[in-house]
Symmetry: C3
Subunit: 402 residues, 3 copies
């Protein structure tokens, strides 16, 4: 172990496993919270790559006490996530690319300041500014009452601080980094859904993978829902930017989206009074269930692919929020177990899944930055290959009314 | 004063009274918060006993910033309580005995993460894992609307951080220890109920006493309710474990409990789909009002008694939650001023008490660990002595419908 | 720069502008939070005045983590405000005068402990104890439902921690001090109202000015409301204390206030069961819109004036809460853009203002302590001069029913 290590990382619980080092930044079980913390590859004795991982405690306003973790890659990419906000990815930036968007909410809002029940169940909007936020797991989707209880917008995971935060760094090139947090939705009588929410990144690459493991620690089967609300704006989103995916069926979320069905796959410039249009998509996939969706800019020189598996995440919600820039010019590409309707509708239409006692379900999503035309073209070809000659069914009437 | 004292406890406000030392760990009035803190009997110059008291700040997840105080006795008993959670007793453990239970909620949840109004007024369940939590004092019982306002499940006291925390240690053997916190339920126009919530323990003994003093600081008489929600599981609770109390009248809380009236006093093993059965009890007492309830394991070798006075706490709620272990296998023995029905029902049936302006009402409850068969038998005899030849009335129909 | 300065204020972001020094105590943008901090005029090299400004972090109970800033003037006046509670002024004291009152809520409650939606939208009452709290800006007034969303009592500003806190001290006599905080009401889809809430004070004087700048950072025009809820008790409020203002029209807020219309401008001693009477006032003003309201004690030897401009704040609410002392013996003088009715009523009656995209609206209010009869008489004359021969219309029927 490098001699600097002991000094610089002493507050973190430190462990090793085969060819990897594990740093525990936070743990309710061991009462650990390292606070401000930083490590870089040099301190790990790595000389053929340079990366760093830093945890910062944020201050002021409604972000008082919020934590962020910043992973900096040798290629200039920076991934910022927040343990306080359910391991959400705040943004990914670098090299003229950006995953994420500009919300009017600028702070990394500490959930202690959020009342999810406020605004008729839409209090979630007071903290929403992430590049990727998990909508789940006890429930997801739009607010609504079920059994007398308010199912608040997009669930609680994104406003639940991680009960354990670990960083695992491989000691062998290419030094894969895993940052994982334990998100507990544990309520007496109601649920004990615990998710190990992990991001994996190999330094110097242009993609990262989310690998979540949801376990039902209750003795009873429980409902669950999850939507990976993945949000993009400039430089990927712009007038005539394009959404691409192999599609079996698409339907407008509501009457307003119905009006936008004709050119649903292309985007407008920031447009006053556009508000949002949402489309429900059933994707096609390869035989093994794997599929992808992509977004690219107008000239196809930059983009993002989101790879997932329809066995895990059979539905895809496309959220087009091309309103003005200050209003939040953004599109959401959201693979999920369901659509964004209120839980009662999702249940009625049979999209609520159950997880057995002690069962663990996995969700993997790979996000890749497409840095040039070649990469974009390759992604489009991958989509076309899956679609093949299969037709897309356009359902013109919304499948549900909220 | 022992020379180590000054150094080790300097952040605490320190005072003496006749034959006792008082340490102020927290005070809104004097802006004191000692954070992590520990003292032991050696530091107090005590050489014929060894005990310690420690305050710890907890970290991670939803327990970020929560405080616990751990009292360790020479006999191995450890009492853990939480100033952040209304001076609730988290658990009492040692010597093969345990008061408390295993909730799916594992963290000492900071009330900043709790929304009592969520889940239709049952947000309290997101933090419920205590051995003893005060349900009160502005209201208690099940959620319901009164005058347009939601009376949330079991009131606010258990999710109110103490405004003053003091530890008083007698300098004279047997060195009685008092840990008390001030719980303020002060809301403009509504209430100014302030409770000095105290636990008294004599090192090396197997019992402790709760002594609460509720004062109405308002100029108006106010309603109040209190139920001492005292919870036990293994090793006391098991198949054929027994509840014992001198009973004047018992009724099932609802239709489901009605089905369990026949063997209401014995317990099942962890039982799937059992959920909970609740019974309302009017206890008999001695002429001075003193009475007790007891729980013991199947072979009567271990148990607990809860001694209280029916002038202070005339009703007893028995909560049998012998569902599966992970669901929370637990029974609650809850002396109170009322039953657990919604406030509107309690009011209608005349069980809501009033406290005059500047009046102080006292509540004393003694919890004793019964460490062997002799102690259990003695408790059973005490119950039988109070019951004597008096009959128990079984009311078969629930007295109210929620 | 004084040599002590560097050491004592190093954690604060330090800047200068022409003839002034600026200290940043908190900033979400620069991730600054200085915590406990103090500066005095000596450290600034000022030798002909002595004042100090101190920030304190509060501890215990529901004020854990709350911040207050205390400005101490050479004349003995002390102004205390709270960045955590929306830059509210907690109180102003000194020299036998006091602005402020005694609420049953004694702590500077951290908004993390407040649920504004609780108590049917009146959760605000659990933290209310300020001398001046801003009711606004997204909404103000009494709770009510609009478009399915609860508009909670008096809005969110008073329970929003400042995102930036700056202290600006002029280096030129008389050393004007400005303390300002940025209050952000930013919610995706809903609002991006940002207010620079500033207090200006010149050491050794007996008055201070609030100067707020509300900017709509959204691309859409937005509704806003603001009431400056300014509260006074003893020694200004007492039996036969007097409210004075030039009044065009006055109406009782409700049927109960109607009963008090006859002697609406004088006060009772602390009076059991008085509860509160509220009056809606349209003030007269000078041609430039400037006007004032005043409160003075019985013998006219002490008082306060509140100067404002009806172009900014056209309405005045008088809140007479002369109930018992422990209940909160207090009167509120509240210049605003509206009355205290629920938003739906204010909208119906045309009192909700709109702010254009990127527009900034200013609000200035000057509070002056009247330290003797001469000052009180001068204030009364100023009121009489504005009223002149103009008549006051008494509307006897409440203009709205809640």
């Amino acid at each position: 172990m490098n001699k600097f290590l002991a000094a610089s990382v002493s507050p973190a619980l430190y462990a090793t496993k085969a060819n990897a080092r594990i740093f525990t930044l936070s743990s309710t079980e061991h009462n650990i919270e390292v606070g401000n913390w930083k490590i870089d590859s040099t301190q790990l004795g790595i000389i053929d790559s340079f990366f760093s991982i830093e945890q910062k405690i944020l201050h002021g306003g409604k972000q008082e006490g919020s934590k962020i973790i910043i992973l900096t890659s040798p290629n200039g990419l920076t991934i910022t996530l927040s343990p306080t906000r359910g391991m959400s990815i705040m943004n990914v930036t670098g090299q003229d690319i950006r995953f994420g968007w500009d919300s009017p909410v600028k702070e990394v809002v500490n959930p202690t300041f959020i009342n999810l029940e406020s605004r008729n169940g839409a209090g979630w909007l007071e903290g929403f500014n992430e590049m990727m936020v998990r909508c789940g797991f006890e429930w997801a989707g739009h607010p609504g009452i079920e059994n007398g209880e308010m199912r608040t917008l997009h669930g609680k995971a994104g406003n639940t601080p991680a009960s354990k935060v670990e960083i695992e760094i491989s000691e062998i090139a290419p030094y894969e980094i895993k940052i994982r947090g334990l998100i507990k939705e544990s309520t007496f009588k109601k649920a004990d859904l615990q998710t190990v929410a992990e991001i994996c990144y190999i330094p110097d690459t242009y993609s990262f993978t989310i690998h979540d493991r949801l376990t039902n620690h209750s003795d009873y089967p429980r409902d669950y829902q999850i939507m990976y609300h993945s949000n993009f704006s400039k430089p990927l989103l712009e007038k005539d930017a394009q959404f691409v995916a192999p599609i079996k069926e698409i339907s407008p979320f509501n009457d307003y989206a119905h009006k936008g069905l004709q050119d649903w796959a292309t985007y407008l410039e920031p447009t006053k009074d556009f508000d949002e249009m949402v489309f429900n998509i059933v994707p096609f996939a390869k035989n093994d269930g794997s599929t992808l969706a992509a977004l690219h800019n107008k000239d196809g020189s930059k983009g993002v692919t989101i790879e997932f598996n329809i066995q895990e995440l059979p539905y895809l919600t496309l959220w087009k929020n091309t309103d003005t820039e200050k209003q939040g010019y953004v599109t959401g590409i959201e693979p999920g177990t369901n659509y964004a309707y209120a839980t009662s509708i999702e249940r009625e239409q049979g999209r609520i899944r159950q997880i057995e006692s002690e069962q663990t379900v996995h969700f993997k999503i790979k996000y890749s930055a497409l840095m040039n035309k070649e990469a974009v073209d390759k992604a489009k070809k991958a989509v076309a290959d899956i679609q093949g000659a299969q037709k897309t069914t356009f359902v013109h009437t919304p499948i549900a009314k909220e």
